[in-house]
Symmetry: C2
Subunit: 130 residues, 2 copies
């Protein structure tokens, strides 16, 4: 199969991190702007750009009377968000495989802008290569 | 803030699982149909329905010459997929918060239909309630 820039990158990067991607899973509690899809779209696009990712498509659904579910697809995978305003909860996932991508920078930006009072983060390697 | 069906459900369910959602993270290796977005859309919608989830929106991007990134937004959160055909790799995430949702059934269906030769799965609670 033809080698692409992405696969050549992954082969190169795998020598360092031994995986195709990094996945950050974050639970934000009692932050701001978790119910405004237009604001979240803006913040997620900025978070992606600040972390070296390329935003592709934004898609969301707003529940009645409150709650959001949505995604910003990236050239390097995704940032998803799901909000439960009645619990002050926002689930954020940042899955990134870009050569220059630093998903922790996207997370740092979202923490700064959404100001959660409590946050729980897990980090995983995805697609571990031998 | 007004209690919704979703929040009333979450309060009820939290007594059992003590969290708002369940997140399955799966790395599929050397499976079938990982490069056909129309087939994947069909399989993901079926996986959602078989696991008690409600599909909302499907969105994807196809890389040139190969590789996919995409999502099926659910009323109960999401199923995302990212494929690296050159590595035989498909990253699948199933994040589900529905009362009747059983994300493990979606995963079982996708394993059956995509037939990965190797699979690694992690399971997490998201939005842990006190």
């Amino acid at each position: 199969m033809k080698k692409t820039k992405r696969s050549l990158w992954a082969r190169g990067k795998s020598k360092i991190q031994n995986s195709l991607g990094i996945h950050l899973i974050a639970d934000f509690w009692f932050g701001k702007n978790i119910e405004n899809p237009k604001e979240l779209e803006k913040f997620l696009i900025l978070a992606a750009k600040k972390s070296g990712n390329i935003p592709l498509k934004f898609s969301y659904h707003k529940f009645n009377p409150h709650g959001l579910t949505g995604v910003l697809l990236l050239a390097e995978s995704h940032i998803t968000f799901h909000s439960w305003p009645e619990f002050g909860y926002l689930a954020i996932d940042i899955f990134s495989c870009g050569k220059k991508a630093k998903p922790e920078k996207a997370l740092a930006y979202l923490k700064k802008i959404l100001k959660p009072k409590k946050i729980e983060v897990k980090i995983f390697k995805r697609g571990k290569l031998k």
